[in-house]
């Protein structure tokens, strides 16, 4: 016993001093390229939503602009500030903070690292008080939702004949992850879109309460199908994968979210309500490279910036009547011109859920 004791203590001591010696003199490497980086929120990469989208923007910048990129995934709320400032310290010229949970953290870090730029996705900053090196990036998800709503609203009533998957019930469904702002914006926009073309339609929402449980998404979809819904709009992150699979199994249609999700089930996903995180991320990186980055403000990406919208119909292109496409295009130009203001909350949309 004593022998083991001594040995383990000696070992620990060596380990301790060894790591000290190795760890202490860590200097920062000098880069030739401009470095951009992201700190994800606790959802992490692989969320098939804004974390992944932002990362894709970085990768695009790496390929096209020759940027050096870095990504850190946060585990807890306490990690946000050290991750953001750590990335700045490592020499990142631009640091992305992903998710509304990092709103406070990005401001704090920006104050301490005026040399770096910070951009927060889904973060709304106060232009009056925010430092000049921080930028808020927001999206008009409700616009995408609105367009998707038009497609769904028309198909489920007027054009049920185009596919055997549609029925005469005039019911649409939505599956939500958690009830949080971006989700609500999609929801409100979708509802408004449906109502604009099909005011009698019944729109049912189910909240699963999680963003990462496919089984629950699937179950919710089945319930919606049973209630007569023939198109289901998923706003549920990874839970949504279950929604799409469920729709496929039940022989109804689904509408994807955030990115073009047609590849998951080409026969099922008629379109997706997109949010151009990748593109806008790329744009911001580009502005840094070109030296035109302007902080202290919020950028709202919408149809006008080509950052929201619905994705191509892929295999359904030939099936979907031209009238529907026309309606959508009409709505796009109306929104762009300000003729239509899409509601961004349930209250504004009058959705009594």
């Amino acid at each position: 016993m004593k022998k083991y004791l001594t040995w383990s203590l000696i070992f620990c001591f060596i380990l301790f001093t060894g790591t000290l010696v190795i760890a202490m003199p860590q200097g920062e490497k000098k880069q030739d390229n401009i470095m951009v980086s992201i700190a994800t929120d606790i959802g992490g990469l692989g969320d098939k939503s804004f974390n992944d989208g932002c990362y894709a923007g970085l990768e695009k910048a790496k390929d096209e602009l020759g940027m050096e990129i870095k990504v850190v995934e946060s585990k807890q709320m306490t990690d946000y500030v050290p991750n953001l400032s750590g990335l700045a310290e490592d020499g990142s010229k631009l640091v992305f903070a992903v998710g509304f949970l990092m709103a406070d953290a990005i401001l704090e870090s920006a104050q301490h690292y005026p040399e770096s730029y910070f951009a927060g996705i889904d973060i709304w900053i106060d232009p009056a008080s925010a430092p000049k090196n921080v930028l808020g990036i927001n999206y008009k998800e409700h616009e995408s939702g609105y367009l998707a709503g038009i497609v769904a609203g028309l198909l489920t009533k007027e054009y049920v004949t185009i596919s055997p998957k549609l029925n005469n019930n005039n019911v649409l469904g939505m599956v939500l992850g958690m009830d949080i702002p971006p989700v609500e914006r999609y929801q409100a926009g979708f509802y408004a879109g449906v109502m604009s073309v099909n005011p009698d339609c019944t729109v049912i929402s189910i909240v699963t309460g999680v963003f990462d449980d496919q089984a629950k998404g699937k179950e919710a979809t089945f319930v919606l199908a049973e209630q007569g819904a023939d198109i289901v709009f998923q706003i549920a992150g990874l839970t949504g994968l279950g929604v799409i699979n469920g729709a496929k199994e039940k022989g109804i249609f689904a509408i994807g979210v955030d990115v073009d999700q047609n590849y998951i089930a080409p026969e099922t996903v008629i379109t997706s309500a997109e949010k151009g995180v990748t593109e806008s991320t790329f744009l911001v990186i580009k502005s840094v490279k070109e030296g035109s980055f302007k902080g202290g403000q919020n950028l709202v990406f919408g149809l006008n910036e080509d950052s929201t919208g619905i994705s191509p119909y892929h295999g359904f292109d030939s099936v979907i009547p031209q009238k529907v496409k026309d309606k959508v295009n009409q709505a796009i130009s109306d929104i762009k011109s300000g003729k239509i203001v899409v509601p961004s909350t349930r209250v504004e949309a009058g959705y009594n859920q």
Partner: protein
């Protein structure tokens, strides 16, 4: 009120079966395990391991059956840790289970990155077991029961068979008798020359196998990807099902059905919008139902006498 009664239909039963299958599988494993005297709260972790392995092997081979097999084997192997800790090392069962849950979560997250290059979720498997749905001839024609029980996917059928198998196993076979005896009076088993250690190892591994199967159900039958932490507390609900089911395979099955029903019903209520309440209240409902079931039913049955107790042959002599 009429609207309310329309909620109860065949779809609800279907939904109940689907939602209860993973719970049933884990719960029946827990039944065997607890009957042999070992408390297993590591099922949450075992299911995760199973779910990950299933997706991984189904993804690289393109064959979901290989994924299924791998999941079951991986569940069995990981459960050996619990067996080793509780039986050979005499560790407190609950403590060991809690630790293994933590370990399994870290392990699957790390392996997910190694295998698929990114965290969060895996690539979808090319073919999922859902495509092997088949209706049993004749039986599936029975109204109500037929489509619900006899038009299902492979793992659901397996869960039905396993219920029958484990009921027979416990009450009709020699090993089953030994399992029951080990949970009641382990020393007595040892004195007639049956190794309690061996029986308990077997029981823990059985629970590992069924939990692995439950994991495979979640990832490659009911879905087609693995998501980090995708079990979402089902392991604990399975434990609750086993207890409220009175430590029997059939009872566990019925209790699991009840929990599955609670969840299915919750969705229906949300969709039907008969009550204007915050959605979270509906989401909570299955958990409340679990508490009520455990609190209400637990007194009706007697747990195995030696469950959760450490067993060593060479206790200090008096």
């Amino acid at each position: 009120m009429n609207d309310f009664f329309t909620l109860f239909n065949v779809e609800l039963l279907h939904s109940t079966i689907r939602l209860s299958t993973p719970i049933t599988l884990a719960a029946v494993g827990a039944t065997i395990c607890e009957r042999a005297g070992i408390v297993n709260i590591a099922m949450e972790g075992l299911m995760l391991i199973g779910a990950f392995t299933a997706v991984f092997f189904a993804y690289i081979t393109g064959n979901p059956w290989i994924g299924l097999l791998a999941a079951v084997i991986a569940g069995g192997i990981f459960s050996l840790l619990h067996a080793y800790a509780t039986i050979t090392l005499h560790l407190d069962h609950v403590v060991s289970g809690a630790v293994l849950n933590i370990l399994a979560l870290g392990l699957t997250n790390y392996l997910l990155i190694l295998a698929f290059g990114h965290p969060g979720t895996s690539e979808p498997v090319p073919v999922s077991l859902a495509e092997y749905q088949f209706a049993v001839p004749f039986l599936s024609q029975i109204p109500v029961i037929g489509p619900v029980f006899f038009n299902q996917r492979p793992i659901v059928y397996m869960s039905f068979l396993l219920i029958i198998f484990f009921t027979l196993f416990l009450y009709r076979t020699k090993t089953g008798l030994h399992v029951r005896a080990s949970g009641e009076h382990p020393l007595a088993m040892e004195t007639i020359g049956v190794s309690v250690y061996r029986i308990r190892y077997l029981a823990v591994i059985i629970s590992g196998l069924t939990s692995g199967l439950a994991g495979a159900f979640l990832s490659i039958e009911n879905s087609n990807v693995f998501t980090s932490g995708m079990t979402g507390g089902r392991g604990f609900i399975a434990l609750a099902a086993n207890i409220s089911g009175g430590w029997s395979a059939v009872g566990s099955f019925l209790a699991s059905l009840f929990f599955g029903f609670a969840e299915a019903f919750q969705y229906k209520m949300q969709a039907a919008r008969l009550l204007d309440l915050p959605s979270e209240l509906f989401v909570m409902f299955p958990y409340i139902a679990t508490v009520i079931a455990v609190a209400g039913l637990v007194r009706k049955s007697r747990p195995p006498k030696a469950v959760g107790l450490d067993f060593r042959i060479e206790k200090q002599a008096d």
